[in-house]
């Protein structure tokens, strides 16, 4: 028996579920292999410690409402991140940004007014203007972090393709992203003066969305 075969059967050995001939075979290997003896001792110790742990740990307070409240947008992000790990990273970057658009738009979107008939929706998450109440500052901060994270992902994708863009285009892109960042700074400054303004919160969210859409578009077109 070689060490790899021993490792494969170690769990069963410790469980006592091996048939007698196999058990004898492993005992024989253990007697002559110091490395496997050490491994066997470590695993046996770990199992003993695990067995000593309490069967159930009750949280000091109910965390579910907070988890549930954030579950939908987080799931969207998780899906995008999983795609980022498993697939091609450029489509995933676009997907991640799209997920953030949806997730954060959900966080920041003021309550809907009475639904108005729309002949044809142009795009999910599109930035139709809405009057409404403000978002909590902590929600705004969290949303801004998500937008920033998505923008960073897309900027990395763009950076990887920068040799495909002419210097003039890159300069134009940088200038325009700077314009959007300046606009965001202006909106934040206005929000400091009037934190209760639903219109400003909406403008902040939609300007973030516009930045991501611009980045998505540039990254997509740079694949041509």
């Amino acid at each position: 028996m070689i060490c790899a075969e021993f490792e494969d059967r170690l769990d069963d050995y410790l469980d006592g579920s091996l048939a007698e001939p196999e058990f004898q075979e492993l005992e024989l290997h253990l007697a002559g292999c110091g490395a496997c003896r050490e491994q066997e001792r470590s695993l046996r110790s770990l199992l003993l410690q695990a067995a000593a742990l309490p069967r159930e740990q009750t949280p000091r307070r109910d965390l579910w409402p907070e988890v549930a409240a954030r579950l939908e947008p987080r799931d969207a992000l998780s899906e995008a991140r999983r795609a980022l790990r498993n697939g091609g990273w450029l489509p995933a970057a676009l997907g991640a940004a799209a997920a953030v658009l949806l997730a954060v738009a959900t966080l920041l979107r003021p309550p809907e007014p009475a639904p108005a008939p729309e002949p044809q929706a142009l795009e999910p998450g599109s930035t139709a203007l809405r009057a409404g109440s403000s978002s909590e500052p902590t929600e705004v901060l969290a949303a801004e972090r998500e937008y920033a994270q998505a923008a960073t992902t897309l900027l990395a994708a763009l950076h990887a393709r920068r040799e495909r863009l002419s210097p003039e285009t890159l300069a134009a892109v940088e200038n325009n992203l700077q314009s959007i960042d300046d606009a965001l700074a202006q909106i934040r400054a206005a929000l400091e003066r009037d934190p209760g303004s639903g219109a400003l919160n909406h403008l902040l969210a939609s300007t973030h969305q516009r930045k991501l859409k611009v980045l998505q578009r540039i990254v997509r077109l740079s694949r041509i």
Partner: protein
């Protein structure tokens, strides 16, 4: 995606060297054929004619390995074959297509123009402008560093630029347009849904609104001017944080914060129905009677 063909063609191209080459190729095409055109850089000019045939004339740039014109009469593929980085290969193509063709044009830095085509048109480039003057019912145009000019009787238009102006004339129905720094001008018929967005560019809309239409305009710093019929029936919701609001329809804006200059204007004109929403941070807003 059709763009991949450029890469494939580049890999397949094996003949070394380059010589200036004028091209002239023809291919049969149905009167409503789908025609895909790819040219990485230079120019693409598409013109309609009354023949069931596609003709491509022009000049291939350094690095081009040839012009591929293939496919069936229902679906014609036209692509500049390149070796190496296709983006430095500047070729000028003039393409004549059946008037009822549907077009998909993709480029990296070629300017794109389309004249007279009556089928759907979709065009995208990165580092150049797009001009479409057609009889198309539907047009989509997208660029990054260039302007978009569309003139058509379209019932649906989607246009976007980043660093460039967007001007759309003659359209009606549904329109969506966005830019960052360029101006955005729409001069058309009656719209069912219009969504116009800019960060710093001014937005100008001249048109009518269908019953129950929505017109949404949003800028951060860009001024907004809406020119609407004097007898328009719509419900208006207008706000600007620090810009002025001028309303030719009568109602006066009101200041909604004791601490800031934020203004809001809400009123109904005629019997209402359509929804007009304008929001800006610092842009001036003007509602003008036409």
């Amino acid at each position: 995606m059709v763009m991949k063909r450029l890469v494939v063609l580049a890999l397949l191209a094996s003949a070394p060297g380059w010589a200036a080459e004028r091209i002239e190729q023809r291919h049969s095409a149905a009167s409503d054929a789908l025609i895909e055109i790819e040219n990485p850089a230079g120019s693409v000019r598409v013109m309609a004619w009354d023949k069931d045939e596609v003709e491509v004339v022009g000049k291939l740039g350094r690095g081009a390995q040839g012009l591929d014109v293939s496919g069936s009469a229902r679906h014609v593929l036209i692509g500049v074959e390149t070796e190496g980085n296709p983006h430095g290969v500047h070729s000028d193509l003039e393409v004549r297509v059946p008037r009822g063709s549907r077009l998909e044009i993709a480029s990296f830095s070629a300017s794109i123009s389309v004249e007279g085509v009556e089928g759907l048109v979709r065009a995208e480039t990165v580092n150049s402008g797009i001009t479409i003057a057609s009889g198309s019912p539907e047009v989509a145009a997208e660029t990054v560093n260039g302007s978009v000019e569309i003139s058509c009787p379209c019932r649906r238009v989607e246009a976007s630029a980043v660093n460039g102006a967007i001007r759309i004339r003659g359209a009606s129905g549904v329109i969506q347009a966005s830019t960052v720094n360029g101006e955005l001008v729409v001069d058309g018929g009656a719209f069912a849904r219009a969504q116009l967005e800019s960060v710093n560019g001014r937005v100008e809309f001249r048109g009518d609104l269908e019953r129950d239409a929505t017109l949404d305009v949003e800028t951060v710093g860009g001024n907004v001017e809406l020119g609407l019929p004097a007898g328009v029936s719509a419900d208006f919701s207008i706000s600007s944080f620090s810009g002025s609001i001028v309303n030719d329809f009568g109602a006066e804006p009101r200041r909604i914060s004791r601490y800031t200059s934020e203004q809001e204007l809400e009123f109904s004109a005629g019997s209402g129905g359509a929804a007009v929403r304008v929001q800006t941070l610092s842009g001036a807003i003007r509602l003008r009677k036409r």
